[in-house]
Symmetry: D3
Subunit: 288 residues, 6 copies
Amino acid sequence: MVTDNAAVRRVLRQALDEDIGSGDVTTDAVVDPAVMARAEVVAKEAGVLAGVPVAVVLLEMVGPGIEARPLVRDGDSLEPGTVVLEAEGPARFLLQVERTLLNFVMRLSGIATMTRRYAERLAGSKTRLLDTRKTTPGLRVLEKYAVRVGGGRNHRLGLYDGILIKNNHIAVCGDVQEAIRRARSLAPMPCKVEVEVRTLEEVRRAVEAGAEVLLLDHMDRDEMARVVDYCHWKVLTEASGNLTPDDVAAAAEIGVDFVSVGALTRSAVWLDFSMRMTPLPEDPHGPA
Amino acid sequence: MVTDNAAVRRVLRQALDEDIGSGDVTTDAVVDPAVMARAEVVAKEAGVLAGVPVAVVLLEMVGPGIEARPLVRDGDSLEPGTVVLEAEGPARFLLQVERTLLNFVMRLSGIATMTRRYAERLAGSKTRLLDTRKTTPGLRVLEKYAVRVGGGRNHRLGLYDGILIKNNHIAVCGDVQEAIRRARSLAPMPCKVEVEVRTLEEVRRAVEAGAEVLLLDHMDRDEMARVVDYCHWKVLTEASGNLTPDDVAAAAEIGVDFVSVGALTRSAVWLDFSMRMTPLPEDPHGPA
Amino acid sequence: MVTDNAAVRRVLRQALDEDIGSGDVTTDAVVDPAVMARAEVVAKEAGVLAGVPVAVVLLEMVGPGIEARPLVRDGDSLEPGTVVLEAEGPARFLLQVERTLLNFVMRLSGIATMTRRYAERLAGSKTRLLDTRKTTPGLRVLEKYAVRVGGGRNHRLGLYDGILIKNNHIAVCGDVQEAIRRARSLAPMPCKVEVEVRTLEEVRRAVEAGAEVLLLDHMDRDEMARVVDYCHWKVLTEASGNLTPDDVAAAAEIGVDFVSVGALTRSAVWLDFSMRMTPLPEDPHGPA
Amino acid sequence: MVTDNAAVRRVLRQALDEDIGSGDVTTDAVVDPAVMARAEVVAKEAGVLAGVPVAVVLLEMVGPGIEARPLVRDGDSLEPGTVVLEAEGPARFLLQVERTLLNFVMRLSGIATMTRRYAERLAGSKTRLLDTRKTTPGLRVLEKYAVRVGGGRNHRLGLYDGILIKNNHIAVCGDVQEAIRRARSLAPMPCKVEVEVRTLEEVRRAVEAGAEVLLLDHMDRDEMARVVDYCHWKVLTEASGNLTPDDVAAAAEIGVDFVSVGALTRSAVWLDFSMRMTPLPEDPHGPA
Amino acid sequence: MVTDNAAVRRVLRQALDEDIGSGDVTTDAVVDPAVMARAEVVAKEAGVLAGVPVAVVLLEMVGPGIEARPLVRDGDSLEPGTVVLEAEGPARFLLQVERTLLNFVMRLSGIATMTRRYAERLAGSKTRLLDTRKTTPGLRVLEKYAVRVGGGRNHRLGLYDGILIKNNHIAVCGDVQEAIRRARSLAPMPCKVEVEVRTLEEVRRAVEAGAEVLLLDHMDRDEMARVVDYCHWKVLTEASGNLTPDDVAAAAEIGVDFVSVGALTRSAVWLDFSMRMTPLPEDPHGPA
Amino acid sequence: MVTDNAAVRRVLRQALDEDIGSGDVTTDAVVDPAVMARAEVVAKEAGVLAGVPVAVVLLEMVGPGIEARPLVRDGDSLEPGTVVLEAEGPARFLLQVERTLLNFVMRLSGIATMTRRYAERLAGSKTRLLDTRKTTPGLRVLEKYAVRVGGGRNHRLGLYDGILIKNNHIAVCGDVQEAIRRARSLAPMPCKVEVEVRTLEEVRRAVEAGAEVLLLDHMDRDEMARVVDYCHWKVLTEASGNLTPDDVAAAAEIGVDFVSVGALTRSAVWLDFSMRMTPLPEDPHGPA
């Protein structure tokens, strides 16, 4: 689970701290520490849910004594009004976690919803939908999780876990074949060597030097078809460059192995949710 | 400047670390440490720029030896092709900072662009545009900065710097007047007491108990007008609730003091930018 | 509760680490890990207790297996010999937490005791006692909590949650009215605008520009009375400047809204406490 | 220098962050970033100065461009009005550092002043004044530095750098001689073994088992004299327990090797300082 | 460079802090802050140098004013007595960095020396020497750097940047082919799928399901030869399992693509170095 | 226990994070979160065990739901095949902790095994075996614990908890007697003053100035005997300098109080262990 990860848990902790800071002045003044409440997280728009495990960890992190019951699972479809999670516990903690919890669930569900829209255009094909590194700074592991929830697969997580020789590398290195040779002999062994190409000539040289995946940047459909034809059985191909859902469907027909779509994270609007609370009878075992 | 702030600098540092992790395997293998390059950050869409100081700090943080020259200022309008910043230095650092730098500038400029669209509808009125706490976890100070760049003003930064008694507080506290009294006597002195209200009766009771600002949640224009009339010269009013630019213009005509709009951050799509690099003659004083 | 706050918990953790460092060489050598003990925290002077929740969290943080029973509540009066808390658990953890726990309780109770002394002089008046930012670096949230325990109310927590235009701001900004105008249009909306003033002329200009609170710095009683008279029903007033308990009582009679007193934290001497321990029969379920 | 230490620098950084938090809302709104100013730190009471290196580091840490000129050295005597330090640089940074800088200098100078008062009573004797671990949580290294500035010497810094077998250890260990034997064979070699004793019989047994220093807790002068006589040339002695300056002088006459005084840190009231600022002509090379 | 990495720099910072802690009590007492000195790092054994960039960063990190001049480069051979680095600056900082600097250089040079011994046995073959994850906790990036210095190539850095399906995975997953299928469709795209195999049957099934690299665990030379023959032109092979330099040479003759050797890090003894210091005439511009 | 220490726990947390990073891509793809397993940690070589408490904490830290049962205690002797620890819980966590857990146990057991070899040569003598500061950066507290497990005693932990005036100090201070005098009057009281000496003349001068321990660096046996004779009943002696087990035995016969041996940590090869896993029937109460 994504929330097993210690780095993810630190991101959640920091998000709570960012909102609470030196203390929740409203709740501290207005709400008696002994008051218990019930909270429901409710979808206000249709879409794909992502972020339930995040919500559960936030509810446990904000303070002791909250019991959370997820009612819907990540990846499920939502209608306006769907209650996705219930929680009971000290009212002050529910009030303190509300905004942070909603911000995560709204952002992640927005990404899952956008991803689903693209993924549906690939149904039945062997082409796989990939994300990019155009993710919100600090939230990459979570946003890439939301892509998986929506039906995509992850490209590399960062600069550390995949070799991608882009135009800027070639510009400063001087020659694509030299760059590929260096990558093949110096980079960690388990990484495939991927190279960004724009022309058939570049494709030919990259394949010759040992590229294992080709990133076809902003190629039109004819070029793409020629590259796929050329690469067949030899190297993998990935189409990229402001692809619309229609472009993605077209690329699948051509037979590229992967399409990578920055819009999954860059253009996803947050899906709307709210939290509503009701007081509970006081916990007889609560804080004296 | 927003990048003076130590917490903001930590966010930038973490964002770089998130992408670079244990090392940039492509650049480490492919690019000689002595290679110097020139990079340009270029707008690919029209909009409002935000994030130049962030870019400058990232360029200085990623490694020694980069010189950055901003060419456009935050808040200026952009056309596709506008070069907003040039930088020269070790190619390996420019390659390592590229994605993180673009992600910040794209997100922040997206927010500034959205904010400008709303702010323009308030030109000439005394009504001020406010943001909300619907910000990306971890980036609140920066996203609220982008709102100011776009022409908005900030509502509270978090739970720690403003009193806002919302429906959920009243639900668990039991009575709005009691809640206001507690806030007025227990919360830190410098904070105004703001209260969410939905009906005229709630307005009347809140004002009576000493509310200093009223948050008019999802009120229609007639109700809003009645509240503004009632509050005149006594308490400030803030309209809220999925407001469109048209709603905002209408609220200004009615004379509310503030409109708060979650869409500034929640619905902002990232403005597109790219970075292009060219190699420079080697630095004679660079790493031997 | 103040110890809900994550930043406060980090301060407590760091305080333990500061004392224990790479390990408690005495206890590690001398005390068998299986030994269980009982500890009592005892007041050695009369005063007002503050810090019980801090002590409880420290006892839980230092290591597993300690059970703590508070016997007195924060804000209660103490006589020499009052036992304020009992704890049972592994002797090594009780020995390791002793000094840190006492240092917190002594400092916080010292502040609560000093605050009570001032607050008693305001009994029956509408004037409220405020603290200042003259707090021990690192302990502000806790020391401001101790002020509340002793009967005071908090001024702003830091530079981030309240606007206070002081003489130094005016000196570098040039004009108090310009400063107030900027604060009213640029600072976050929920903060009241407070301004330091020294003369009636400054009062007049500040009020005219929209100041919401006036900080009367080192004014004599006559001046103060004139300002309070002038401000009546318009803006709040706060007296400040090395105020003694007698000064505070006098200010209340004049009718200022707030008195802020640095001595609550700056001149508070630590209230004396000790911890005494007795061995318990070994825990049959303890570490083998 | 105490500020060479990385842990100390982290404490200073955290103190700045505690005050500035998400941003200085007053200065950000009111002061133009280009304004330069001059600040003077002025003593308002007589006493002993401590904290100049701390002030210098804070001025460098708060932001770039400040030049600091110390005018007085730690350990020097102060009269009301003495200017101890001048600084020039961006006004916004001077305003942001003011309170934190003063809080450190006031607290540390308070300790140095209190220490000097005790140390003067030991002039001409071989008895050395020691501090204790009754220090403000988080500030121990700095407060112990202030003790040295005032003329004291440090006892152990924490539980990690000295063996001190106290009554509570003996209570749970069962026997002082067994405790001493364990410490002598298990604790790190470089630490002297010190033991708290209350009676001559305890002294005898502790010395027999190999104690190297005796902590004489709350002994009267006659007992102390007998212990010193007994220990002569064999083990060191340290008097402790709410000692007044007179007690300290008496202990010196008796010939104990050390006196340890919690009041140096626990009862020190902050010495008063202020900062006054004047604007400077704008820096022609400052931020554009 | 490995020391560009922020995580590596944090490791170096923590190592300094681990040794210096609350302060270097000897140097603080004994050495005047104004004393300047010259230090030489000298090899005391023959071997391969690794760690010069680490030493340079430590010298810069420990305090301001040190100038370092590396005299030998990482990867160069050393004789006893070779001076690898000179530094000049404040004596107190040189004394404080000495042990930490030597510990890093000794450990890393020990690894480079051991790696060189293995790598020499592969000279002229196409077989590449790989490291493993048997590295000192906390130092992995640095130890893997030392392997590269000694002539090895890195296997994956951690669990995050390479897919390696080991026996324990298969044991709990149930079936190697199912495991491979899941990895090929769910793991990040850029990672090759590597599978641990022990028999020819396992080889056949793994290749059939799409394994891209085979880890041949403790296979004898005959089996290895059969696998290499089977895999030819299809999948890569990696020999592993307590390989001696002779085993490595044999594997190269057989034609496996990679050998991975835990002994590079697990059995490397530290190469001996010392630091000798001489005082310099006082810096006229040093600390007053 | 060594794992009580918060700094040690942070080291363990960082070690896990170093290996797991942004996520275990193999396990996440291949292993269903509901699968439960049993793991055994098995010695593959003879030696002395150290690190069981570390293993237990790692198993608890990596994720919830693991139950660990140590079968052998630190300090016990191992044969190849000894199972030292069993654990049951979610398979994904056991797979994620495997390498980190083994790395710690292998390194620490290697040190304990090496220490035992030296310590056995001192059996029956009063001479005690000490470690040095030649420890792996970041792991000092743990490696010094392993020394104790193997039968050694700790020298100082760092620069902060013991005074050791070495040749480099004397070189920059100028005179050994002046250095000793400063240490005796300025360093924290509880630390013994130890001085490195190479000749009898240095011994004489050091003792005269008040040295409490002498570090005899690379002295031959005759010199050592003369020093021990000279120091008898006056100061403690410590032999040092690339001592072999035979040297250590000889030093004991001569009667030095301590021998300090860098090889305990610097030359210890890791003791080999492995972890083998078997699946368990699914936990009916596990993650849904």
